[in-house]
């Protein structure tokens, strides 16, 4: 099992948060993410998985949130993860992000991982550009940050303080911060749930554009069935810590929510989530 770490700050600050979430101190990984140099897939889906999860189990006290979960995400694949609250969606994402060390089972991520959280989590005392460039290695991090911001349509706000951004702008900056790292796996933790409906539509388009341009594998955690249907190659429904349902969507993008295929799939997914389309349980 997991070994305790001597108190470092990273461990501590993260640990304090982990304490709140988990009710126990955090510790070093029993097995870390094994990073391999990620060669970019040239075809649409590479055969080498961007992430492979085997028999992943996570317990909080007596409660088993992830129960011997298996999941494989192909390179460049867009996967949406649905589930009711408490189904373990966020726990799985945190494990893949390397934020949860108290996991059992094996978890392999090829290449680098980037995360965009539900709250954009920009560092308020750094201007938008510096937020995107934060921790960025290599030459000219600020120039690369500006390029990334231009790509998400936020070039003119590059010198602004994060607290002056609107919700949509902040989420764009957060996406730019994730993408500037050229991740082979992009984790999106309900990034649009706090946005208004109109901004959300714009953001869906933006995410598809960015995904088409960079081709990271994407794991989108969401509770919005329509969002999953519009964006993903494959939709997973998580229930009781396991993948309870899996649907592959082949409908070409851009998709319209009234597409007959999607209407049929929506009913299936809602049923898998234990909700009837009429909303009468």
């Amino acid at each position: 099992m997991a070994a305790r770490v001597p108190g470092g700050l990273t461990g501590e600050l993260a640990g304090e948060l982990a304490d709140e979430l988990n009710g126990g101190p955090s510790s070093e990984p029993s097995r870390g993410l094994s990073s391999e140099p990620g060669d970019r897939p040239s075809d649409r889906l590479s055969h080498r998985p961007a992430a492979a999860v085997r028999q992943l189990t996570r317990r909080f006290g007596d409660r088993t949130v992830l129960d011997r979960l298996d999941l494989e995400i192909a390179g460049g694949e867009f996967v949406a993860l649905l589930g009711r609250s408490g189904s373990g969606k966020s726990t799985l994402l945190r494990a893949l992000a390397g934020l949860d060390q108290e996991i059992d089972g094996s978890l392999t991520v090829a290449g680098s991982v980037a995360v965009a959280f539900q709250e954009p989590r920009l560092v308020p005392w750094k201007r938008v550009r510096a937020n995107v460039a934060l921790g960025l290695g290599g030459p000219d991090p600020l120039d690369r940050a500006d390029t990334a911001l231009a790509e998400v349509g936020l070039a003119e706000r590059s010198g602004a303080w994060p607290l002056t951004l609107s919700g949509g702008e902040a989420q764009r900056a957060s996406l730019a911060r994730a993408l500037v790292r050229e991740p082979s796996l992009l984790l999106l933790d309900e990034p649009f749930s706090a946005l208004d409906a109109l901004t959300r539509i714009t953001m869906h388009g933006l995410v598809l554009e960015l995904w088409a341009a960079h081709r990271p594998a994407v794991l989108l955690v969401t509770h919005d069935v329509d969002e999953a249907l519009l964006l993903a190659d494959r939709v997973l429904v998580l229930d009781a810590g396991r993948v309870a349902h899996e649907t592959v969507i082949t409908t070409p993008r851009p998709r319209h929510r009234d597409h007959p295929d999607l209407i049929a799939l929506r009913a299936t997914l809602l049923a898998a989530l234990g909700v009837s389309p009429e909303g009468t349980t």
Binding site: T10, L13, L17, A97, R121, V123, S166, E169, R177, T199
Partner: protein, 277 residues
């Protein structure tokens, strides 16, 4: 896109609001000067009418004259220089100790276990009550005065900086982890800037305490400085000199407070725009 434009317009509106508020402020602040002026005039009249004898409290006009004299003869500048030096030395020593210890305690658990209990215990000591011990240990020269100020300054800075470090948003620490920041980068980019607002609160508190500690310290066997000037004046019932000394104390206090405000505005500009909006 139109959604974003709407947002911008709303923000522009929000920003415009404080300006309209500022427009009527000068009038209001002018009115606020009336009551203090009335008080000074009443004081002057009472002194002139003999209701307020000079050995209890000198007239404002006499105080103003004395102030000019004290400056012209060089008595006041010399006294201020001596007092200022004590405060600066004491403050510097106390700030280094306070912030340094807060870093040790804030950045590691063993550091916290070693430093925090002692600081919490010492904090409960009434430090002005330490004066007799300080005199026994350090004599009656500059050392006990500077050390008293240093001690008084170190606690507000320690407590606030420590709380500031521990109050840094854990979610930002998670971001730092996903961005693969090193420990040094985490401290430099996230923890210390995050603790800065609270540290500045501590700085203002500690400067206030520094002047208080100076006044108390200078009551003890000072042979120079503002406190000496005031004590000397007491011997000769010179209430005008005493009041001048007190006014200088408060002016110096206001000055340092203003400097910190300026520092805050500079260092926390990322918050200012937000607050203004």
């Amino acid at each position: 896109m139109s959604v974003l434009e709407l947002g911008t317009a709303a923000r522009a509106q929000a920003r415009a609001r404080p300006h309209t508020r500022n427009r009527w402020r000068p009038g209001a602040s002018w009115r606020r000067w009336i009551s203090p002026l009335v008080l000074v005039v009443a004081w002057q009249v009472a002194s002139a009418a003999g209701l307020l004898p000079a050995r209890l409290l000198a007239a404002p006009s006499a105080i103003a004259e004395t102030a000019v004299d004290l400056v012209r003869t060089g008595v006041l500048p010399t006294a201020v220089a001596v007092s200022l030096q004590r405060v600066l030395l004491g403050f510097a020593a106390g700030a280094i100790a306070g912030v340094g210890l807060a870093l040790v305690a804030g950045l590691s658990r063993p550091g916290e276990n070693a430093v925090d209990p002692i600081m919490q215990m010492l904090r409960a000591l009434p430090f002005f009550g330490l004066i007799p011990l300080f005199i026994l240990w350090f004599g009656i020269g500059e050392a006990p005065k500077v050390l008293l100020i240093a001690l008084a300054v170190s606690f507000p800075l320690y407590l606030n900086t420590f709380a500031g470090i521990r109050g840094v948003d854990g979610r930002l620490a998670e971001v730092a982890k996903t961005l693969k920041l090193t420990r040094a980068q985490l401290i430099g980019h996230i923890v210390l800037p995050g603790a800065l607002p609270q540290t500045l609160v501590g700085l203002r508190q500690s400067l206030g305490v520094a002047w208080l500690a100076l006044i108390v310290a200078e009551q003890v066997n000072a042979s120079a400085g503002l406190g000496y000037m005031i004590n000397d004046a007491r011997e000769f019932l010179r209430t005008d000199v005493i009041v001048v000394g007190l006014l200088v104390y408060s002016a110096l206090g206001l000055l340092t407070d203003g400097i910190v405000r300026l520092l805050e505005r500079r260092a926390l500009s990322w918050r200012r725009e937000f607050l203004a909006g």
